[in-house]
Every structure is written in C-alpha cells, then in structure tokens.
Symmetry: C2
C-alpha cells in the first residue's frame, strides 16, 4: 500500500489530518481552492510538530512530503486514503465525492470528516458507494485520538484497511454498530450545548462558571474513564445496578431543559460571545491553542505513564513502532563492540522549564529510561522483574554540556564500564545529531525485590552484561568518566 | 473560628468531606447510625491519604482528629462547618436539619451535599433558614475541587465564610447566581446520561465504546478548558460568534433524543449492567478506584506544572500555605550558620516505578525544586529571572542511600559548599524523618539568559549567597561530598 494520503478541504480539520499523516511518515497531497490554504496548513503543521512527536518515547518516522494541487484529480492520484473535510452541505459533499471517484483508485478509503451526516446520505448518487465512509475526527486532530468510523453497506475489506490505517496513526477507530445523525460524541456535545445555552440565557451561571463546573469536576473524571466506568466506581461495592436504581428516578425529574431549545437570536449570541470575551479575551487564539496543547500533552503523557485511556493507545502505538528496529532488539541481535542505542526520542513540550530549555530532572528521566531499555536488552525485562529480580541505582553523575529544547530529537548511546556479578556501571551519552548534550554515569546493583538486598542476577543476564562489558573495554575511555564534582571546576 | 467540622451522613460523599477536612488540619466529628460507618470512613481516608497530599509540593498540615458520635447534637457541638450527606429524600433532610439546628452554633455553615434539591426546598420549616445552603461536591471529594454553592436568602456574611473555608481546603466554590433543580454540573451529566441510555438501548454503541468516545475525544479537552473555551479555540481567528453561527442551525436538527426518555425497565438495566461487567469486570471496584486516582493525580500534577485549570488552584492553595512559614521566607529571615530547609513535601502517587519505590529521576526533580527554592531565597526568583539572569546546572551527583515510597513526607536541607562570583556549589540532603534517603551535589553557574553565557549575579544575590557560604563553612564536612562514582565502589 502506498503511504500517500489526499486531503480534500484544508481547514483546521483537513490540516489536522495532514499533520497526522505527515508526522507518521505519509506523503500528503492537498486540494483546497482557498488561496490561504498553504498558510493555514502551515500553521496547523507548526502546532502539530510542536506537540505530537513528544507524545511517544520513541521518535516518529521521518516526515512525509507535503504538496498542494490545483485539482481534486491530481490530489487523489496514487492515494490510499482520501479525506474529505469540505463544508457541511450535502450538495457540496456529493459534488466532491463525484470528482474524487472519477479519478481515485477503487481500493482507496474515502473518509468524510462530517460531524452530522450519515454515510447513507453521503453515498447518494455515488459511483462506488461502498468506498465512502464517515471518519469523524476531533479537534485538535493531531493530538486527540478519537475517530468515529461510521459505515453503511461498505466494502468489509476496505473497512478493515481503514481501521488499520487509523490505528497506525496512533488513533482509535470507534466503529459504530449503526449509522445515526451526529454519530455518538457530537450527540453528547449537542445535549450539553443545548443545556448550557439555557443556563447562560436564564442567568444561572456565566460561560466561565460553566467551564469551571466542567473542568474542576466531571471533565477531569471523564478524561480518563468516560461516563459508565465513572458511574461504575461511584456505585461502589453494590455495583452498576445499584447506581442505576439510585439515579433512575431522576430521568423523570426536571433536571434538564430537554426538548425546548432557546431562541437562537442576536441577544443570545451577544450574551455568550460577550461572556466568552470577558473570560478568555486576554489570550489570543494562538495563545489559547498553545495552552490547550500544553495541557493535553501533559495529561496524555501522564496517562501514558499510567498505561490507561489515551495513554495506553500511545503505548500500543510505540510497541508497534519498536518492532523490527534496534529499539525492539535483544542482546543477541546487537554487536558487543559498539555503544548500544538505548533511546531515540523527541523532547516533549512539558519537559521545558523557566530557563527555556529541558529541565535537569528530565535528563535523568531520559537516562533512567535508557537504563531501563538496556536492562531489557540484557534480559532484565518486565517478566524478569515480576519474578523478583531487578537493578537499583545507587549513584548517578550527570554533566550538562549543552542546552536542548522541546521538539528536539535526542539519542542516547550506552557503554558498559563495569559489568560483573551484581555490579553494573553504565555510561550514557545524549546527543542531538552530532552535538553532545549530556553524559550520565550510573552505578547500579542487582537486587532481590523480596529482600531489597543485592544478589547476583540470573546467569543469562550476567552473560549478556559481561559480553557488552568485554566488547566495550576495547573502546577508548570517554572524557569525563569517573570524575567528581570537585574535579569538574 | 474553630477548625472543627461535623459530618452528618458518612458514606462515600461524607467520607470524602471528612478526608478533605482532616488532611487540611481540621478536627472532624461524625454522625451516622450505620454500624459500618467507621469502616467506610476508614476506607475513604486511606484512599485520600494515598492521593491528596502528593498533589501539592509542600506537605499539608498535620492531620486533625477523627471522632464518631452517637447523636447529631454531639457531632455538631463546636463545629464551624456542618455537612449534611444523608439520603436524597426531602423529609429525611428536613428532619436532619431540625436536629442540627437544635444543637449547633447559629454562625456555623450548614452545607448540604444534595445533587438535586434547591436550597429553598431544604430550608422549608427550618428554625434559621438563612444558615442552610447547598454545597454540592463531586466524587472523589478528596481529589476533585468543584463545590457548587447554591444559596437562597442566606446570610451574606455566612456565604463569605463558606467560600473562604472551601477555598482553604483547596477547592473551588462555584456560587450559582440563582437556584435551579440539579444545579449546573448534574444537569449536564443528566443530559449526557439520557442520551447515552438511548444509544445503548438502540444498539448504536456499547458502554465501553461510549466511554472511549468520551475519554479519547472531548473528555480530555473538557478536563482542561470546559465547553465554551474549547469552542472559542475551535472558532479560530473568526471568534465565538462565527462558531455559534456555524453550529446554531444544529439546534434544530435531530442530533439528540431530547425530551423522550427510554423506559427505565429491567431489560435496560440488565443491558447496561451486563455491558459494564464485560467492559470493567476484570477490575474490582477497589482497583478501579486506585486506577482512577492515579490518573487524576498524574493529570492534576501535570496541569499544576502548566499552572492551568485545576492545577492553578493547587498552586494558589500552595502559595497560601507558604505564607508565614520557613517555606515562604527570604534569606534575611534565615540563620546563615544552619542548613536551609528547601523542601518539605509528600511523594506523589505517580513518582513510583516498577521497583515499587520513588524512581530515580524524581529524586533529581525534588533536588532541582529544592535548588529553585534556594535560588528564590537568595533573590534569584521569578522576577529576577524574567529580568534576564538565572543559574544553570552544569553537573549533578546523586547518591541513593535508602528507598522511599509514595505518600512519604520528605524534607530537603541544603548547604552551600562554594558560593562566590558566578559559582554556586550546593549539597542537598533528603530525609524522611531521621532517615537519610539521598544526597544531591550540584554545581551551578550564574548565566545571562540572553547570551546563554556565564556572568556574575546581581550584587544582592551574591551577597546572600556568600553569607550562607561563610556560615556553612563552619559546619562539619558531610560524608560523601566531592566523591566520584569510581570512588563509590
């Protein structure tokens, strides 16, 4: 399958799709008659480059190419995925699909970013209706993983292809069982939006207060468990049935405005827009985007460390990315007379401090991750650790030689200085390209996790360690090895 | 004001209130006729102790006391805050308020945890209706900061007192402008719940798919910006009016089920409960609670580092906690011939690794925070840094001497080894009680943030540094100072 995607309609949503594909190594061909498209896509790409690569602990592939085309026919040429993100008017969508299908491969996925239309509506009058499906993303598309995949009479093989591609982009294909207006998520958003408009109109709370009611309460809950699992926990030991019995009667109570929608007039628009100005007007949209992305990165990296929710998806993507590379290799695959590449990653957005560069503790986090990776290479992996053996770090010496910033790709290469019995003395070098950023020298002892005392490692681990120690002994001694802080001045 | 709170009704919600008060130094008096109350409160307290103290970078005050009482009169004696969390039946609430008001101080806040009743309903027949208000929290109460404060004809001074107490507990008082059934947040939860029941009933998506639709998409957005600010960003440069014009017509489209609610029968209950079992049945409720709390901690600490949303509330609470303590002091307040206490904090939940103890990079994070605090003490604070001067760490040496776990309170004391011109050589000692956990030796240089080269600090900073260097020179040299890793073995 060619790794070429066509983006038809290059606004915020189309640009987000373009960024997802390009940063995952796809070539992207764009069609949009708007003369501002190149600037708009450039802005989304800049945001995406700043935030997406740092979500994983392994660098994404080299970027694909980006090209702009004058016709739909040219843009869809050779594309395995064609994404339609044109305005939400059915006649425009139908005309666009006709042009796409006149020129595209018959085995390409044609996805629509529509928020509301059902696939059966999109397919009306199409040459090959089975090729068209809803693939509805969420803004910012380059960070949020949800794709609502909605199909009606689609080619089953093509649906499987679509799911595979979505997953390979680090996203989650939610394949609805049936088509429905507005799919799933936007039905919730619409329900909340209708209720929120009433609350503002009736003077119960301002837009800012409503946002606070969400973000200090159920929003931060929903970000990691959603609705039903949250309620499951709330039900406690008595369980979900108990919870439902308790809250069932509320369905008949006047707890929402329900059917009745407010008059959507200028007065209401001015009220909402005015309160929003007061709440957020001190930040430009650009600033708000950065703040939002910083927040999303820090939360999603947090969830990644917990291996839960959106973070578990990042880990699954990363495991896939390791397959067949040096970052998934074991000791026997690696030469013993060369330093071992133990990390290759992008510095995340939130690793920067008030001095405008990667903060010191994140160097140790990166070196510690590199040590973990080296341990896994020699056989001290999660399975071995769960059997009761591990290494504890006794001592660390870090030299900060040059600055590095969020978004930089860094590589750690590791040397075994001493590897015998319980002892493991490692030397890490962190580079950005040819620029040496820092060295980390670490003395570790193998321990029993039961007694918390030092013990010899399993024979296969010691053998792998000794092999690297012997191989690395022939390499020239690095500058700075064994130095104390007193000697450094 | 006495720091005594009475908790009337000791379930999950009452227990969460108790934990909030106790962990913030209040004495708590509990009344609940349920013989299981002591066990239930103990379980909530254990969860809260595990997660709440690590949210701040400064330890919370010493815990208050916890006592159980046989009558409401005894429980409310001497209490400045009385929180009612009895079952959601108005006649039970009225009876409870009558007993409370027969015994409590007339200037105590009486808060109700009700999800749905308006304060005017709660006040019916009360001796002093102006004393009763809604203070509606969100589960888990010990972590989530939102309190919906709803008042009708309340004593204005008492409302201000209530807001002050809520804020002092690290929570956010959302004071509604008018009373309304179900306040604000639960109206949204109810709207989404109704829609979600239809989606499951109609076979569009399972409970797990619906949860994924929330937590991989808008949930993680809402956790940090809520509804209106998210849409403001989505509107882009064209702004909020443009966004509303674009989505206004959808109010008339069939995007929600609205008025019509599903029959709440056994079939629906079994369907929902069965899907929930399939989705989450592999985890006990206890496990799910821990997973949830880990996720909330990591997200909230992430947002704290961003100083945004719920994290900004933590920072505000922490600033207040520093006032009048050694952790808010400047150099002139501190003796020069003693080590400087630069940190006193609880190890957060998410600082633990696969070896079951605080992971190595978090030691450096804690030492780096201690260095930041020492810099602030000598005058290199945020204001000075924004004027263009700062310190960069050139070299670090850490010795890990003993293990420490999440929930432990640790203290860092700091010695100036060398402090002259551009040079600052610090020695940190990290203790849990009398137990030395680790030492951190750090060599820093004062730099210009414009040229990124070393330069002398401002005279007042050098003077403060030299004063400590001279004072600390008279102290005995610590074991391990100046050692290299080679020498450590």
């Amino acid at each position: 399958m060619s790794k070429t995607a066509a983006i038809i309609g290059g606004g915020v949503i189309g640009g987000g799709w373009a960024a997802r594909f390009i940063l995952n190594g796809w070539n992207v061909q764009i069609f949009d008659p708007d003369p501002q498209t190149e600037r708009k896509i450039g802005e989304v790409m800049a945001n995406a480059r700043r935030s997406l690569p740092g979500l994983t602990d392994l660098a994404l592939p080299d970027e694909g190419t980006l090209s702009f085309h004058d016709t739909i026919a040219e843009a869809v040429s050779g594309a395995a995925w064609i994404q339609e993100s044109v305005p939400e008017r059915l006649e425009i969508k139908h005309k666009t699909f006709a042009e796409i299908q006149a020129a595209c491969a018959s085995d390409a996925v044609i996805g629509s970013s529509t928020s509301g239309f059902k696939p059966s509506e999109l397919q009306q009058g199409a040459t090959r209706p089975e090729q068209i499906m809803v693939a509805h993303p969420f803004n910012p598309v380059y960070l949020l993983p949800l794709i609502e995949l909605v199909t009606t009479d689609a080619d089953p093989a093509l649906v499987e292809t679509a799911k595979g591609i979505i997953s390979s982009l680090g996203m989650y294909p939610l394949h609805l069982k049936k088509e429905i207006d507005a799919h799933v998520a936007d039905r919730f958003l619409e329900a909340v939006w209708r209720e929120a408009l009433w609350l503002v109109k009736d003077g119960i709370a301002t837009t800012e207060e409503i946002d606070n009611a969400i973000r200090y309460g159920f929003g931060i809950r929903w970000a990691q468990m959603g609705l039903f699992e949250t309620y499951r926990v709330a039900g406690g030991e008595a369980g979900m049935k108990h919870f439902m019995a308790q809250f069932g009667p509320a369905l008949k109570w006047p707890w929402t405005k329900l059917m009745d929608v407010p008059d959507f007039n200028d007065e209401l628009v001015d009220l909402i827009a005015g309160q929003s100005d007061e709440q957020s007007g001190m930040h430009s949209i650009r600033e708000l985007e950065r703040i939002r992305d910083n927040n999303l990165v820090v939360m999603m990296r947090g969830l990644k460390a917990q291996d839960w929710g959106a973070g578990a998806l990042l880990n699954a993507q990363e495991r896939e990315m390791r397959v067949g590379t040096v970052h998934g290799a074991v000791a026997a695959d690696l030469p013993a007379d060369q330093l071992v590449e133990t990390a290759h990653r992008t510095v995340p957005l939130n690793w920067t401090d008030y001095n405008g560069h990667m903060t010191e503790s994140r160097y140790l986090q990166a070196f510690a991750d590199a040590t973990d990776r080296f341990m896994a290479i020699i056989g001290c992996d999660a399975e071995y650790i769960s059997s009761g053996g591990s290494y504890f770090t006794a001592e660390t010496h870090i030299r900060h030689l040059d600055e590095v910033h969020a978004g930089a790709r860094v590589t750690v290469r590791t040397r075994v200085v001493v590897g015998e019995g319980k002892k493991m003395h490692l030397w890490h070098e962190m580079y950005e390209g040819d620029r040496l950023l820092a060295t980390g020298e670490h003395f570790l002892l193998h321990v029993s996790l039961e007694t918390r005392k030092s013990t010899p490692p399993a024979p296969h681990i010691e053998a792998a360690l000794v092999r690297f120690a012997a191989g690395h002994a022939g390499l020239p001694s690095p500058e700075g090895l064994g130095r104390s802080i007193g000697a450094a001045k």
